[in-house]
């Protein structure tokens, strides 16, 4: 059939659209390389709560990164032979912060506040995944607008007006 080209074109378009959709959905969740081989798993298994090191999500927009002082509070005595810990100690002595690479980063034009999210009954794992099982922390979800909206739009009628409003996150 000479009309093959039409059908071929149609198939090409369909395949193109599907491939595009898949490619945008597929996300490589590679963990960034941190300056110090810190393991969340070791610390969580030792019984430390999230809020011990990241103290402020309940009362401020940011969760907070522990200071080197806080690390040294324990590591003055724990596992001091470990070369990684010695590296932390050297940061402590030089008085410089550890240049951690941020894993869960929102762009400048997104206003994110931990406080109302925790106030609404979410917990850390909802968005950050089971960090306690991760040796190296990585993102478990692609934190894009569609992901935020998935929650914000499925709210009760009196809330959705505010939560699905653009000004909820963009100011």
């Amino acid at each position: 059939m000479k009309r093959f080209w039409l059908i071929g074109l149609f198939i090409l378009v369909v395949v193109g659209v599907i491939a595009g959709v898949i490619l945008t959905r597929v996300q490589v969740y590679a963990a960034p390389e941190q300056p110090i081989a810190y393991s969340h798993q070791v610390h969580v298994e030792a019984g430390i709560q999230c809020l011990f090191c990241h103290p402020s999500p309940l009362k401020s927009p940011l969760a907070g990164i522990p200071s080197v002082q806080k690390c040294m509070g324990c590591h003055n005595v724990i596992d001091t032979d470990n070369p990684e810990i010695q590296q932390v100690a050297s940061y402590y002595e030089s008085g410089e912060p550890i240049p951690w690479i941020r894993v869960n980063l929102q762009p400048d034009f997104v206003y994110f506040n931990h406080q109302p999210h925790l106030g609404a009954g979410l917990n850390c794992e909802t968005c950050h995944g089971d960090v306690g099982q991760m040796d190296v922390t990585r993102q478990t979800v692609k934190m894009d607008m569609g992901w935020c909206l998935d929650c914000h739009i499925n709210q009760s009628d009196e809330k959705v007006g505010r939560l699905a409003d653009c000004l909820a996150c963009h100011k």
């Binding site: 945008t24 894009d144 607008m145 569609g146 992901w147 909206l149 739009i153």
Partner: protein, 473 residues
């Protein structure tokens, strides 16, 4: 050469006159083919010099566009309150130019006006290329052009669709439609001529024509279907071409800016578009005729008829302009008064009087048959129209934005080198595309001319020999 230059009718001979109008009665088919094909192969150094010159202008304009994107809109002359400047004015101008192509081709095809035959292709090509240039400006004038895809309607994870209430969305959809329509219209009518060119050329040209003519053989069934499709196109494209410029005018008319917020804007823009488009077509035909030696196809009666259409469109434009103006003048609202004052006696007065004279003088000129049938006079008249219509667009866009309800926010506008370069780029780009098109594709629609020849016989009425048309379409 000198004889055909003047385009005068041979003296007092009705027989010679109708031979002129009989569309090459004495030529054989293959001679017509060659008469159309030969000018495509003849390229002198002047042609290449023109191509290089135009390409350099386009490259410079592209550099200016890159500069504009890299540094931001501030490199253009626009400011607050004149948020829109030369870019939008030129956009409106190009959309206007694009209107005459379908006007000539579709309307005259429907009306079965025979003089359209040799000029339809040139007109349709003008529409397509003018729209390409017009289509650049919405991108050029975007502050963040790399985000233009947010205007496209497709499912996305932002759960945001474009705002179909915005005239810019209508604009985008309408211009895209018009572009598709005019390009397909041009192409469809081109297929039989491409087949003709395929049969009479060699090398790369034959390969190109072979692919583009899609295997046209000229069977009865093919002709029948082509005719059918062309008549559907002619009917469908007329409402599109009316809607496109109406929508462009609504970009302005839906705001509450004084003098923009006018109900007459849509028809006023459409009439202005036809006026400038027909003038541009006449102007291009004069130039192409000279450049490609197509004197035997593009003859005085075509320029005469085209000149009459420009004349009628010009008078209609004056009527619509006046109808809009008198109401605003009589209304005498403070801001409108200030805007009109600014135009007729203020800083915009030079532009205003340039616009009025460049639009009105050609109307007076075109009353005379001598002007309509003398190429250089016609060229002067139609170039004037285009100067006038470009100025008119600048006045509409810039002039009305300089003044507004809040006198504290009044401002002035003058374009920078970036804007001028980009505007020149589109003119050069249009000329470049058109020049190349005229050497690659048969500029004169051969099959339409041959079809026209079929229609005519000569009848004696009293003392006169009169050409008579048969109803074959």
């Amino acid at each position: 050469m000198s004889e055909s230059e003047v385009l005068a009718y041979p003296e007092d001979s009705s027989a010679a006159e109708f031979e002129d109008r009989l569309l090459l009665a004495e030529r054989t088919s293959s001679e017509i083919n060659q008469a159309v094909l030969q000018p495509m192969f003849r390229t002198s150094w002047k042609f290449w010099a023109l191509v290089i010159f135009l390409s350099l202008l386009v490259l410079w304009g592209l550099f200016a566009w890159g500069y504009l994107i890299y540094w931001g809109m501030g490199t253009a002359g626009i400011n607050r309150p004149v948020y829109w400047g030369f870019f939008i004015a030129t956009f409106v101008f190009w959309v206007g130019i694009s209107h005459a192509g379908t006007m000539i081709s579709a309307v005259l095809r429907l009306l079965k006006a025979d003089w359209r035959r040799p000029i339809t292709r040139g007109a349709e090509a003008m529409t397509a290329f003018a729209l390409m240039m017009a289509g650049l400006f919405p991108f050029i004038h975007l502050g963040r052009v790399w985000k233009f895809y947010w205007m496209l309607p497709y499912p996305n994870n932002r759960l945001m669709w474009p705002n179909f209430q915005s005239p810019l969305m209508w604009d985008m959809v309408a211009i895209f439609t018009y572009f598709i329509g005019s390009t397909l219209y041009l192409y469809l009518a081109l297929i039989p001529d491409l087949a003709m060119a395929r049969d009479h050329t060699g090398k790369w040209r034959q390969k190109l024509y072979r692919v583009l003519s899609l295997g046209w053989r000229g069977t009865e069934a093919e002709w029948h279907k082509l005719h059918r499709a062309l008549s559907i196109f002619s009917v469908a494209i007329i409402p599109i071409f009316l809607s496109v410029h109406s929508i462009v005018s609504w970009d302005f008319a839906v705001t509450i800016q004084p003098r923009w917020h006018s109900t007459i804007f849509a028809p006023y823009f459409v009439v202005g578009a036809i006026y400038s488009g027909l003038a541009a077509l006449a102007c291009i035909l004069v130039i192409v005729r000279k450049g490609m030696q197509l004197q035997e196809f593009l003859r005085s009666e075509h320029f005469d008829a085209l000149g009459k259409l420009v004349l009628v469109a010009g008078m209609a434009w004056v009527y619509f302009w006046f109808a809009g103006f008198i109401v605003e003048w009589y209304g005498n609202e403070p801001v409108t008064r200030e805007l009109i004052h600014e135009e007729v006696a203020g800083s915009l007065a030079p532009l205003f009087y340039l616009q009025m004279s460049a639009n009105l003088i050609p109307i007076v000129m075109l009353i005379f048959k001598k002007v309509r049938t003398t190429p250089w006079l016609l060229l002067v008249a139609t170039l004037l129209v285009n100067v006038g219509m470009f100025t008119e667009r600048v006045l509409i866009v810039v002039g009305n934005l300089q003044r507004n309800f809040m006198p504290f926010n009044w401002g002035e506008y003058s374009p920078t080198w970036v804007e001028v370069s980009i505007v020149v780029m589109t003119f050069a780009g249009f000329a470049l595309l058109y020049t190349i098109f005229s050497r690659i594709f048969p500029y004169v629609p051969v099959w339409e001319i041959k079809e026209g020849r079929l229609r005519y016989t000569v009848r004696r009425i009293g003392r006169l020999l009169v050409p008579t048309a048969a109803e074959i379409e």
